[in-house]
């Protein structure tokens, strides 16, 4: 392939066969008594408490930082945080994320600023749950939940669309698309200065999830 890879044969270099080779002594087998201690270990553990979890009946809580299904977050007023920058898709080592950005128009403001993610797909057959996408996301739109029950019956069902990934609307939010908070621009949104939705943005959802 390339001759530059061949070893350089300068005079100072030692031949590998001249390098002394210290034969390190290997530990021999342990005595029969010591070996049979292993039987006692297995016998003893018959009377120990089981570590099994009866999974479908009992669901053990995961660790807090468990890498589960992704979630696309929202600003407090309901606008999506995702700006369709595709940084997550670029960061993905498994090539599992597909993003198409779209322009925000005055009549169709989905996220603060100019752009939003129009198409957002994660292929969970490819995803390795490494979390690099989360680290790449500039707006903290993409985070990971603790949900791990992702099995399904067909390949298509495991490609999650934007609707499947979006965080649910909570009370006090407004169903996008809707205009930005009056007097705020995307920088205010980014700094977290928008704390709640304004009635001028649209009907605010109540605690039951219905528009007031």
């Amino acid at each position: 392939m390339s001759n530059s890879l061949e070893p350089k044969k300068s005079g100072a270099a030692k031949d590998i066969n001249d390098v002394s080779f210290v034969e390190v002594e290997q530990p021999g087998p342990a005595s029969l008594g010591k070996q049979s201690l292993g039987f006692w270990v297995t016998f003893k553990s018959m009377f120990k408490k089981n570590l099994s979890v009866q999974y479908p009946d009992v669901k053990a809580p995961t660790e807090e930082r468990f890498h589960g299904r992704h979630q696309l977050n929202r600003h407090p007023d309901g606008l999506e945080k995702c700006i369709g920058c595709e940084l997550c898709a670029w960061a993905c080592p498994a090539d599992a994320i597909y993003v198409e950005g779209g322009n925000n128009t005055p009549g169709n403001q989905v996220s603060p600023g100019e752009r939003h993610g129009a198409v957002y797909q994660i292929n969970y057959l490819r995803c390795i749950f490494c979390g690099l996408c989360v680290e790449a996301c500039p707006t903290r739109a993409l985070t990971m939940t603790n949900e791990y029950e992702l099995a399904d019956s067909s390949r298509e069902k495991l490609i999650f669309e934007k609707e499947d990934l979006l965080a649910p609307l909570r009370a006090g939010m407004v169903m996008p698309p809707h205009p930005m908070y009056p007097g705020m621009d995307e920088n205010n949104y980014y700094r977290g200065e928008v704390k709640a939705a304004d009635p001028s943005q649209g009907p605010i959802l109540g605690s039951a999830g219905e528009a007031k």
């Binding site: 392939m1 390339s2 890879l5 061949e6 070893p7 590998i16 066969n17 080779f21």
Partner: protein, 255 residues
Amino acid sequence: MIIQTPEAVMFWILAPIAVLSALGMLLVKKAVHSALLLAWVMITLAIFYIAQDALFLGIVQIVVYTGAVMMLFLFILMLVGVDSSDSLKETIKGLRPIAITAAIGFGGLMVSLIGRATLGRTPVGLAQANADGNVQGLARLLFSDYVWPFEVVSALLITAALGAMVLAHHQRTVARPTQRESAIARFRTGSLASAAGLPGPGVFARHNAVDVPALLPDGTPAPTSISATLKARGDMLESAQFQLDVVDTTVVEEK
């Protein structure tokens, strides 16, 4: 012989089967099938022995012949003859008709001789000889009248076992290379490109089976990526058909 004894029923069922299996052993093409049919013949013979008051011999027949000898045959067949199919073509001209004629003559002669010959007495049966038990009777004979042949035969058995070991032993003419030596040899011989190991088989995402050679960057199949056995057997797929089409890399302006 109007009232059929259980032995007669057994005989008239098993004897034709035994003869037919022996014939089948002669005629089938695959050596493994021959061995199986022969094993079956030996089992029927063991049943014949047991029916003839030779219980110990019948069991030993199964242990020795079916269990050891035929198993050895099967073993050798698998080691030697799995890929060599046996041809039934005759190599010496006219051998087969002559052999069959001679054998039929010989067999006919023997059968007719047995039919005519009288051994001078009616069958005695082994009821008396087996009075203390068949095993005990045999043991008494083996360790008294036949003790010399018994010792000779055991010496023969040991000699045969040693002889087989000597014949099958494979002397190593060159010492087996150590891990260090083979590691050095890998870097010393050929180019360093192959030092890291051979390329794995399969064309990524299109076909990843072991019978598809990997593609080199220039699109030619890598010959070292699949097993030589698969290549020799012809069980190898063309990897070019799994190559990606040329990807259009020109950027189209979005409207």
